[in-house]
């Protein structure tokens, strides 16, 4: 009987060890081997001179791996206590991932403080939290919280993108800005590490390692110092707005900003709900990229488009003169000129009309040219279409035309000639993005070539920098010499003559530009209903510029929200940018704006309170 018993035992072992060996061997391996993902750092982003704009730092994430959890409730309770987190919050996170495989870590805390890491590690050594893992992961860092809208931010990939097969669950991908446009370049390839763990999940040794490959490095066309100058200029003024500064000879974006901004670092390690809510609820819309997504009436900056159309189409010559009595009547309606005292400019030619921003002159000329030709030439100069900048979600501006009106009105209304009068001075339906205004003034500066603004200058995949060719120009028209001569003379006189742009004058650098002061018509109804003060309805200020006049090196558009007269608020920002640009070019010390701004936007006090309020929740 004993022999039979032992034979049965031997056969049982034979079945387990020999027949079913493969199955159990695999189970044993699953038991003691773990594959850990090694996150690849995203590529570092540099400015055109090699200054680091975006880099990576190490952050610690704390996760629960349920594979060996005996009592999940106990783990949640203890972990919440150790991390000083709200227990129900931790439970919510776990519940959301409950159906995932148990070996998949559930991240509880993405950017843990060193104190939290130490607390968890101590408990792990005591075997109190064997199912909690601390991982070191590279996290995006934006050293100076500058140009947030330009760089964008990163975040966990959406379920939809995972479904598309573009990324895998848990990947950190660019959600906006450069991070999104060039996500494929910036994203590295995650590695993996196979380790041996014991029964309480502690790593004993590494079996093999497939190191992560860092993402490609990008060099942008941005110039750090010019970028800083733009932002300093806005900070100093206290206004919100946007600015895009270009190299008019190729479309390189030298600086790009939208104010108010946000801190992209808050997104890098997973933004918390309160911060996100306060950002989205903020009336000032800090997440909106005003430079490519905001559409504003260009005001008088539009006059060069009308002037170009008039000369190129042969309607008038630059010497064409109009008498300005301070107002003019068209189609039975009276239109005001730009001077507040109601006086007129007298008899002015085209140069003087631009210099002094005479409305009556452009009412008259615009009426003569007609909406179709204004539309044609404004488009050729870069207005009313997307510029094609390499940033996501650019919106298209609008230069109205009869076709547009017919298509967008319900009753297919036709264009009334009276509407052309408002369009001629950049009001009415004209609404344009700051980036297209920068292309517009660049095209005027370089004589007719409409470049595509672009941000990527070179890519380094580890084998050295490879320059990225600039995108082809969108269009190129040869403007008549007399057009160009007139435009350059007039814009030079705006700044250096007796014009409205004196605030941007830098002796010796022939700054040329045009101010704009646009009524905030669209806001009027909504805002006054909410009981806002008149100041909320203050005009938007513009300044478009290039320099030097005869050999333009830099061009740009500065838009100041509710800034009132563009010559007062926008031109000084442009001046600081230009001074910085030329000082850097010539190796002189960069100008510094006074720490205490001489004046501040009277609106900002109230605005700052509303902006700060929700942020602290």
């Amino acid at each position: 009987m004993i022999v039979v018993l032992f034979s049965v035992l031997a056969v049982s072992f034979w079945v387990l060890q020999v027949v079913q060996h493969a199955k159990f061997e695999e189970m044993a391996e699953n038991n003691h081997q773990r594959t850990l993902a090694l996150r690849a750092p995203r590529g570092i982003i540099f400015d055109r001179t090699g200054h680091v704009l975006v880099e990576n730092r190490h952050s610690y994430s704390i996760s629960i791996v349920r594979e060996h959890t005996k009592d999940l409730n106990r783990t949640i309770r203890l972990l919440a206590a150790v991390l000083r987190l709200d227990e129900s919050g931790v439970r919510d996170i776990v519940n959301r991932h409950r159906r995932e495989p148990t070996y998949q870590p559930i991240m509880i805390l993405q950017d843990a403080s060193l104190a939290q890491v130490a607390a968890v590690t101590a408990r792990r050594l005591d075997f109190e939290l064997p199912d909690v893992v601390v991982e070191q992961i590279p996290t995006r860092r934006y050293p100076e919280t500058m140009a947030a809208h330009l760089f964008g931010y990163v975040g966990e990939v959406s379920d939809r993108d995972v479904a598309d097969g573009e990324s895998k669950s848990g990947d950190i991908v660019g959600q906006s800005g450069i991070e999104k446009t060039y996500n494929n370049l910036l994203m590295g390839e995650d590695g993996a590490k196979r380790v041996v763990v014991n029964s309480v999940g502690r790593e004993i040794r590494t079996l093999d390692e497939d190191p992560p490959a860092e993402g490609k490095r990008l060099q942008l066309t941005i110039d750090y110092d010019v970028q800083k100058a733009v932002q300093d200029g806005f900070k100093n003024s206290g206004y919100n707005g946007a600015a895009v500064i270009l190299d008019p000879n190729n479309g390189d974006v030298l600086a790009f900003t939208s104010v108010p901004s946000y801190d992209p670092n808050a997104f890098a390690a997973g933004i918390d709900r309160a911060t996100w809510k306060s950002l989205t609820a903020d009336e000032l819309l800090p997440l909106q990229d005003r430079a490519i997504q905001g559409r504003y009436s260009p005001g008088s900056t539009f006059k060069m488009a009308v002037a170009t159309a008039a000369i190129e189409e042969g309607v008038v010559t630059p010497d064409f003169k109009v008498y300005c009595p301070g107002h003019a009547v068209f189609f039975g309606r009276s239109f005001q000129c730009s001077l507040s005292n109601g006086r007129g400019h007298g008899t002015v030619d085209m140069r003087t009309a631009i210099e002094h921003s005479c409305n009556v002159y452009f009412y008259t000329v615009g009426n003569m040219v007609g909406i179709d030709k204004i539309h044609k030439w404004a488009t050729l100069l870069g207005l009313g279409e997307k510029t094609g900048i390499d940033l996501p979600n650019e919106v298209q501006g609008l230069v109205p035309s009869p076709e547009w009106k017919k298509a967008t009105t319900k009753t297919h209304e036709k264009w009334y000639a009276g509407e052309t009068i408002s369009v001629s001075i950049g009001q009415g339906a004209v609404s344009l993005t700051p980036v297209s205004m920068a292309v517009y003034i660049s095209t005027i500066a370089n004589g007719g070539t409409r470049y595509t603004p672009h941000l990527l200058k070179a890519v380094d995949d580890g084998s050295g920098w490879k320059p990225v060719p600039a995108p082809a120009a969108r269009s190129s028209v040869q403007l008549k010499p007399e057009t160009l001569q007139m435009l350059h003379d007039a814009t030079w006189r705006v700044v250096n003559g007796n014009g409205t742009g004196g605030g941007a004058r830098i002796p010796g650098y022939d700054v040329s530009g045009k101010t704009g002061t646009a009524q905030v018509i669209s806001l009027e109804g909504a805002k006054s209903a909410k009981g806002k003060t008149e100041k909320d309805l203050r005009d938007n200020g513009w300044f478009v510029f290039f320099a030097p006049r005869d050999n333009p090196q830099i061009a740009g558009a500065v838009f100041v929200e509710h800034g009132g007269h563009g010559g007062v608020t926008a031109a000084p920002i442009a001046k600081h940018v230009l001074q910085t640009f030329f000082a850097k070019r010539e190796g002189r010390p960069l100008p510094v704006l006074p720490a205490n701004p001489p004046y501040r936007n009277p609106l900002m006090k109230a605005a700052a309170v509303t902006a700060a309020g929700p942020n602290q929740n």
Binding site: L9, A10, L16, V18, N31, V196, V197, N198
Partner: protein
Amino acid sequence: MFERRLYHHVDWALLAAVLALCTIGVVMIYSTTADPTRASSHMHLTQLYAIFLGLGAMALMLMFDYRTFTDKSHIIYIVLLAVLVYVMFFGKVQMGARRWIPLRFFNLQPSEFAKLGVALVLAKFYGENRGAPAWAELGIGGLLTAIPLFLIAREPDLGTAVVLLPVFLAVAYLAGMRMRVLGVLCLCLVLAAPVAWRFGLKDYQKTRISTFLDPSQDAKGAGYQQIQARITVGSGGLSGKGFKQGTQGQLRFLPVAHNDFIFSVLAEEQGFAGVLVALGLYLFVILRALEAARLAKDRLGSYLVLGVLASFTFQVVYNITMSAGLAPVKGLTLPLMSYGGSSMIATLAGFGLVLNVRMRRFTN
């Protein structure tokens, strides 16, 4: 007393097989516990000391005629009961059970020696009677077994307590107990099972049994050990992962690998080949001891050998079955291989008695 010629009648083959199993045990204990970074790295040494103490006890058992022990068996039995009662009240509590008496160098586990005591007293009781035991004799024998069994079960140590049952059944069977009686006893057990389930078993014992029936229902709790045991054995394969190369035992997926699950570790690291060697040795030991029972010069001797052998065989078979995850997990050690001083000393002492009976088969 020990006479010189008796020396030649010692069953050296049996002794060698026993020592071989002890050696395998020490090696496996070393494999699973020796780690310079861990405090428990001296366990294999402790086991070696226990083996030497056990050999001493074995020599002591050989020195006197086994009849000397059976004659004193009532005293031994009473002392045993006293010690078990003492443990009940003053024993050392470890892992939720009161089983040990702390001595200077190690903790003594009296229940291990109860097997010997019961084997002695039953051999004596039935050995002196001729013919098939009457109902009354069966009842007395049962009572003699039941008292220590009850005391041990209360510690609680159900595993060791149950080991006493085969001792009684084997001796009573050999003494002529009819199969019908055995049938009645089994029927009683079956009928008593629901009652015991309801009142007698602790919760952890219930879960052990119910998870045995379906281990996957509680893969993280009680079924864990069983699943891990199967993985451990199965992943060993034909030739094993090699000395100290096991993952299940080394990385502690299998609990108490040096103790209850030492055979699983052997299966993992030495594979089916190692399993066959160990099984062969155990089979040899058992068959050789049975031969001693057959050769014994009197009924007393064969009863004694069988009593000792019954608990040993039961434990070996049960533990090995459990090691493969084929039986409910119970705190039953594998005699001669598992880590544990008391068990080793008592088992070697028991083999001392077996050798004694065989050695003195020609003396009067």
